[in-house]
């Protein structure tokens, strides 16, 4: 080969051809159920939780689930598949604030309205606002035909499938109901000691509500109500010593949130005296706040029965 023309035709068109093949392959795989997969057999998560849940919220979640669970990491490890018949998808995300959570929820609401939405209420959700990462991004939709995050998801899918790095990427960390089983990654060996060490920190609980976050919370609630979605809120059960130490701040937080939710919202308070048997039993926790499997089952059962799901 000795001319620019031939060179350009061969390699320029070759690059375009290979790119087209990659796009076709990625659409055929349809990792997030964006293009043709109906997801009846379930679509799990393998890589970034935020990107994955945002993309799954385009079609898979609204088409296959009736109820959504929202919240930060405190609810992300609740395995709603334990109650598969209720079709509850866990849209909670580790470290999520209200901006991120509503962005994912809004995407799911665009195509279908769920019957109910459960919200895990903890100051963390409204302590700040704004996207914490670039992972929830419109661009990711087209990224599903070929992008770094897609290929990373493929790679981690293989790593999990063949259990290559079980300590860092456990095989069954996620499931097709949005469950993020990070329990083994975060579990403290001595939960009581972990709670005690947390109590040494004066800012272990920041119960302040960011004003902009509260506005966004209101917008989310109004949006859900306008669509006729039944909202069920629950104040996340904090280990009793932590709740007791920060009780006055947490009560203030609860009062504000109650006002903003309105009287028509089903609201469960797992920190009141009725549930002290639960919050005083540290076997319900894996650390200073995240629930153990035993704790998760109890809380979800309570929500389902009390809220009539």
């Amino acid at each position: 080969m000795n001319t620019a023309s031939k060179f350009l035709k061969l390699y320029g068109l070759g690059a375009i051809f290979i790119t087209m093949i990659l796009i076709v392959l990625n659409v055929a795989i349809d990792f997030y159920g964006l293009f043709w997969r109906d997801g009846k057999s379930g679509i799990s998560i393998y890589s970034d939780e935020r990107t994955s849940k945002y993309l799954l919220a385009h079609r898979y979640v609204p088409n296959n689930f009736n109820v959504y669970l929202l919240g930060p990491s405190l609810s992300a490890n609740i395995n709603t598949k334990e109650f598969a018949a209720e079709r509850i998808y866990n849209l909670s995300m580790m470290g999520a604030n209200i901006t991120e959570q509503y962005a994912v929820l809004a995407k799911a609401l665009e195509s279908k309205t769920p019957s109910k939405v459960i919200i895990c209420l903890h100051p963390y959700l409204t302590a700040d606002h704004g996207m914490k990462t670039g992972m929830i991004n419109k661009k990711e939709y087209w990224g599903a035909v070929g992008s770094i995050s897609l290929y990373k998801a493929y790679a981690l899918g293989l790593v999990r499938k063949f259990n290559v790095l079980p300590d860092k990427y456990p095989q069954n960390q996620f499931n097709d109901f949005g469950y993020n089983n990070y329990n083994d990654l975060l579990r403290s060996t001595d939960v009581k000691a972990r709670i005690e060490s947390e109590l040494q920190k004066p800012d272990a609980i920041n119960a302040n509500i960011n004003l902009q976050a509260l506005k966004e919370f209101d917008i989310m609630i109004t949006d859900l109500k306008s669509r006729g979605v039944q909202i069920i809120g629950y104040f996340h059960p904090l280990p009793y010593p932590i709740f007791k130490t920060f009780e006055s701040d947490l009560i203030k937080y609860q009062v504000t949130i109650r006002e903003h939710l309105g009287a028509d919202v089903v609201l469960l308070d797992f920190n009141n005296s009725e549930y002290q048997f639960f919050t005083k039993d540290f076997s319900n926790y894996i650390d200073h706040g995240h629930l153990s499997e035993k704790g998760q089952k109890f809380i979800l059962t309570e929500i389902i029965s009390k809220a009539g799901i």
Partner: protein
């Protein structure tokens, strides 16, 4: 419109290129030039339409001033022309810096103006000052208004250089050979552009998160983290800026315009003088020809030479940004150049490897002032680098994951391997380069379609 944005790559560039060569083939070449001029102004207006007026007025003023200068050879006119150019640059770039410093000395502070910096103003101001000086010295040949405007606004070099010289550019715009499609240039241009794009999208952007995290917690870093932060920034800046320059060179080639190289493996430099012959070459050349030499250069004794070097680099520092950290950065480089000149007299031989390491360490440390958002951040990072920060032991997570580790390793290898100019010089229409081009295009398309930060660092200057 960023070079690395889909709208530039898939819409602006192909349309501009196609219409340019269509017009140059079908009609008088002047129409093709006018098209290219309008396309360049559109490219500039894409960020902030109002700023187009600034560049148009600046080009008009300097064009007519240079005509007058050519005829009159009036030194007063030259000085006035330079002052007006620097005045405009000063107003947009340094007004708030000036006021902040005044405010530090007075009881009743003046309100800051908060003027948005028009992109590329530092670059096109320097280019036009050079033009005025050369018009005064009658080094400028006959030139048309269209060629002059294209020299100032040609979009590949408009925003972040290279700082082109009229003697390199204007003859190319009027050369009839350049009016025809040249597939050799287009192929090489595509190759160089894709190399630059890969340097920016794949390497520089993968380093940026670590750098940002490090500088945001400069006072809490461990010694290792502080060094990683500073070295990553040195690499990020190189790949970002040289990537941009490569893209500009590649884009120029598509239009048969040869834009001068701007980088030549700067971190291989064995001393600070060599570094400045390899880093931002077009700026160094400008500073040498239009600042250092007019000040007397090295012709008035050793001490005045040292003084001239320091002054030149103080100007280079303030050119980069309105802040004391930039002045300190420039001053340190000026001092280092003076010291190197002094030390060279003793003819002490430092082994090549040691010389490269010493030079890199100096440059790396001075980049801390260049990158830091203020004096305190710079000092915090430098203290962290020697283990003297206030909060040692406070945990900061510098890297959330190591997915980019292969890219970081590749970056280090690329710093010391063949650079873009060397690879492009040997470019051939063979399979080896064909596969490289194909891989670059595919990788760039994947990265273009990914969510990553894409700001170019040198847009701020």
């Amino acid at each position: 419109m960023l070079f690395s944005s889909p709208e530039f790559i898939f819409l602006f560039l192909p349309t501009t290129l196609f219409v340019y060569f269509f017009l140059s083939r079908q009609s008088n070449f002047i129409y093709a030039k006018i098209w290219l001029l309008f396309a360049s102004l559109f490219f500039y207006a894409y960020w902030h339409p109002a700023n187009v007026l600034i560049i148009i007025l600046s080009a008009l003023f300097n064009f007519y001033a240079s005509r007058l200068l050519y005829k009159s050879k009036s030194k007063v006119l030259l000085v006035a022309g330079i002052i007006i150019n620097l005045g405009v640059l000063g107003y947009y770039k340094y007004a708030d810096f000036f006021l902040e410093n005044i405010n530090a000395l007075v009881d009743e502070p003046f309100p800051l103006l908060h003027i948005a910096l028009p992109l590329g103003i530092s670059f096109f101001t320097f280019q036009q000052i050079a033009f005025l000086v050369d018009a005064f010295s009658r080094k400028v040949q006959n030139f048309s208004f269209a060629d002059y405007c294209l020299f100032v606004t040609f979009f590949p070099q408009l925003i972040a250089g290279p700082i082109v010289h009229h003697s390199e550019m204007m003859p190319q715009f009027s050369n009839p050979i350049n009016q025809k499609v040249n597939l050799n240039n287009i192929t090489l241009g595509l190759f160089v552009f894709n190399m630059g794009l890969a340097k920016k999208l794949i390497i520089a952007d993968s380093l940026s998160n670590v750098v940002a995290q490090g500088y945001n917690h400069a006072d809490k870093l461990s010694v290792m983290q502080a060094w990683v932060t500073s070295i990553f920034y040195s690499m990020q800046l190189y790949f970002d800026f040289s990537g941009y320059s490569d893209m500009a060179i590649g884009l120029g080639l598509l239009f048969n315009i040869h834009i001068p190289i701007n980088f030549n493996s700067p971190y291989k430099a064995e001393n600070i003088q060599e570094f400045w012959r390899r880093w931002h070459i077009t700026l160094s050349t400008f500073l040498r020809d239009y600042v250092y030499i007019p000040m007397g250069g090295s012709k008035h004794g050793e001490w005045k030479t040292y003084r001239n070097l320091i002054y030149t680099f103080l100007i280079g520092g303030i050119w980069h940004g309105a802040g004391w950290t930039f002045i300190i950065w420039g001053g340190l480089h000026g001092l280092a150049l003076a010291w190197h000149r002094f030390f060279s007299k003793f003819k002490v031989q430092v082994p090549k490897f040691g010389a490269v390491v010493i030079t890199f360490l100096f440059v790396n440390i001075t980049w801390v002032f260049f990158r830091a958002d203020g004096w305190q951040t710079a000092i915090n990072l430098l203290l962290s680098m020697i283990g003297l920060n206030k909060s040692i032991g406070t945990s900061v997570v510098l890297m959330n994951d190591f997915y980019s580790l292969p890219i970081w390793i590749a970056a280090v290898i690329l710093l010391f391997g063949k650079n873009t100019n060397q690879i492009a010089r040997n470019f051939n229409f063979n399979n080896s380069y064909g596969w490289k081009l194909m891989a670059l295009i595919i990788l760039n398309l994947i990265y273009l379609n990914s969510t990553i930060s894409q700001e170019f660092l040198y847009f701020d200057f």
